[in-house]
Structures are given as structure tokens and as C-alpha cells.
Symmetry: C2
Subunit: 234 residues, 2 copies
């Protein structure tokens, strides 16, 4: 009997924002995997820690940053092979993901290598979109508003086109692109509604009007949202 | 002491996809409110039922469909007043929402009436976006892909513009607009990747390639997704 490969969303940061299903499957899986930095820290493991039973085999998936796609592909091939050995031996493997596995999750890179040959199931989690709106205290989208979710690394002109296409907007992966995103939001006339949220639902969460943010760069776990203005009713 | 008004996301349908935090707050709130049809059924109450303690005051928020915005406004005014009386008497009120309260949730209509005068907190939930992707078995967005979330009631020409603006697309509130959405997706050349998902994560979930869906109308809890094709790496 081959094991099952699970992609488990553990939510945006607050360990209490994990689902009952995620907790149950983690409790039953002999192998737990998660993304980590090259130095060893794992944000997602820290989120799941209160719910992780002792005595599990743990696989920290350490991916190289900024060494090009070929290096990353080779690294994911290696981790996929390691996970496949556990599955072939009949051991379930739970891969933990911050937020939701299929919404910008690195789980996709292992899924594309393993799903064809192994039973794979995804447990959706609370994504950072709802978490950031909750932190900002404003509905993100209402009625018939269109939501555009746009990654900040896009080139400035494309960022402007894409941000302009939604009634409400969420800019993800802000990090070192903060100054560029701020310029674009200013040009689009959206600064009045734009909110900057850092580490939503975590203990050190910060929420500021974007107009009041002075720095040029932000932590990876930051997002900028422009909530809809409520003008499109059902 | 005034009570706290909570907006609680209970997730997309599977009662196990509720968060630990939602369960804890429901257990402590003396008043539980939720949306319901005029006839009395409440999908969101059914999702939360396994976690609802006995002996709570329950408020079924029954909103009129298709009788115009003025009628809906008056109804929400009435429910807001009823909830405010509990809050003023020091009783916490937990308003349950399918999915996430701030992502197309009817919670917004009560939030705008109550948040200025009462302490209000939102507990984000698993939204149907991740749940539909999990049901389809495909990552919704990867790397630097743009996600457009578009309500199906938009006029056909606008629907086409908005759907064309994303690398990945989720069409929400499909219902009786199914035939129109299918025409637009066909014209945009996206039919090959389009997946139709009905009642994601519920017991009677259905997943079909959109090209194989023959009917002209769908249940309210259905969505159509066109996942990104993975061509925009980090």
C-alpha cells in the first residue's frame, strides 16, 4: 500500500487559524515536510508547532533563493525523490504550507512531480487574503466587485495595468518591491484606500495606511490591499 | 460592558474545515447569527452545526432576494438593531459566514452598520477559492501569476474584459449565469483549462471539465476556475 501525499494549509500565521482537518491529518502522518530557509528557519513549522506530535520524521525543504530556475528545479527533484521513497514504503507524508497549498504555495512544485504516481490530497487553509482584510478591518470585496491579486515582482508598467483591472486589489510578495508598488498605487489614485499589512494574524502584526509607510522595503510576509469601495451591489 | 461583534468564517462546506479559533469563539458566544433563506434553510448553520453548543440564542438573518436594494437595506437595518441590543446588554454575538467574512460575505452589510459603535473582530476562514482548487486538483496560481476573481452576474462584455485580465481566473456566483460564462470562456480560448466545481468540499461535491457541462444553470454554490498555466516563474 502506497502512502498518501497531503498538501496541508496551516493558515496565515496565528496557530489557532488552523483547521480541525489539518490537525487530524498531521496527527496521523508519520512524515511531516515543510519549506524552510537555507539557514534552517521555517515559518510554517513554527505556525504548526503547537499541533505537531513528537516522534515524526521531518523533512525541511530548503530551496535556494536567487540562484536561478535550474538550481531550484534540481533541488525540488531531490526532495520529491525523498518524499516518494516514504510514500512507496507506505508512509503518509504531510507537506505543510502557510496559507493555502494551491494559492501561491511552493507545494505546487512537489505536486507536479508526485501527483501522477501517488495519491495526493489537498486540505485547503485560511489564505492570507482574508487574514489581511481581517487585520485591516475592511471587507476586501462585496457584491459584484472584481478582485485582482497581483504579485509585486511584476515590471512597473505591467503592475499598473494589472492593478487597474480590479475594483479591489491585493498585492502579494511585496518585500523589496514596496517603493515600486507605492508609486503605482499613487499614480492610479488608489492611495486613499490602500492599507499595508505586515505579518497578518501573527503576534507582531502591523497595520498602516500605505500613505504613512515610509520605508522602501518590507518583510516577505507583507501585503498591500485596496479594498473595494462597495459601489457594485449584487 | 458592551459585547463583542464577531464575524466568523466557518469555511467552504466540510465541517472539518473550520478553524480552532472559530470553534472556540462559537463556544463562548451566547448569541449566534447566520444568513438563511426566506424559507428557513441555512447552509452556514448546517456547516457549523457539529460545533454549535446547545442553549444559544440564534438569529437567522433572512434576506429578501430580488426585491431590490431598498428592501434589503431595510431588512439589514432591522437585524443590525436586533444584534445591537444584545451587544449593548453585554452579550457577544458571533455572526457565522460561509468561507471568509470579508471575501464576498454578507457580514459586510452588518459590519458597516455596527462596527463604528461596537467592538468588532473578524476571524478569517477557508475561502472557497482554495477549496475549489483543492477539489479540481490543480494549483490555482503559481509564481508571479495574476489571479482575477470575477462575479458571474457582470454583463457579458465586461465579464470578457475582466476574465481576460488574469493569468488565472475564478468566476464566483455562477448560478443562473452558467451559459453566459461558458460562452465568454470559449471566446477567450480558455475552455481547455476551465473546471466547473459544485459544492466544493461538501459530501455532494461535483467536479467536471467545463467543456463537459451541458446544463444552462448551476447551484449558487458553484464556481468555475481557469488555473494558471505555470508559465510565470518567481
Amino acid at each position: 500500500m502506497s502512502g498518501v501525499f497531503y498538501g496541508i494549509g496551516v493558515g496565515p500565521g496565528d496557530p489557532e487559524l488552523i483547521t480541525l482537518k489539518a490537525v487530524r491529518i498531521m496527527a496521523g502522518a508519520p512524515v511531516i515536510a515543510y519549506s524552510a530557509t537555507e539557514e534552517g528557519e521555517s515559518m510554517v513549522r513554527a505556525i504548526a508547532a503547537p499541533h505537531l506530535p513528537d516522534g515524526r520524521i521531518e523533512i525541511a525543504v530548503r530551496t535556494p533563493i536567487g540562484r536561478g530556475p535550474a538550481a531550484a528545479e534540481a533541488v525540488y527533484d531531490g526532495y520529491a525523490a525523498e518524499i516518494a521513497r516514504h510514500l512507496d514504503a507506505g508512509r503518509d507524508v504531510a507537506f505543510l504550507c502557510q496559507g493555502d497549498p494551491f494559492v501561491y504555495g511552493s507545494f505546487a512544485y512537489l505536486h507536479e512531480r508526485l501527483a501522477a504516481r501517488h495519491t495526493t490530497r489537498v486540505v485547503p487553509g485560511v489564505s492570507s487574503l482574508g487574514a489581511v482584510a481581517a487585520a485591516a478591518g475592511v471587507p476586501l470585496v462585496r457584491g459584484c466587485e472584481v478582485l485582482s491579486v497581483v504579485p509585486a515582482p511584476l515590471a512597473e508598467a505591467e503592475l499598473e495595468t494589472r492593478l487597474g483591472a480590479g475594483d479591489a486589489v491585493a498585492v502579494v510578495k511585496v518585500g523589496r518591491h514596496l517603493a515600486k508598488v507605492r508609486r503605482v498605487i499613487q499614480r492610479l489614485g488608489l492611495m486613499g484606500r490602500a492599507v499595508y499589512v505586515e505579518r497578518a494574524t501573527m503576534e507582531n502584526q502591523r497595520v498602516l495606511a500605505l500613505a504613512r509607510v515610509r520605508r522602501a522595503s518590507a518583510p516577505y510576509f507583507s501585503m498591500i490591499v485596496v479594498p473595494g469601495n462597495g459601489s457594485r451591489s449584487e
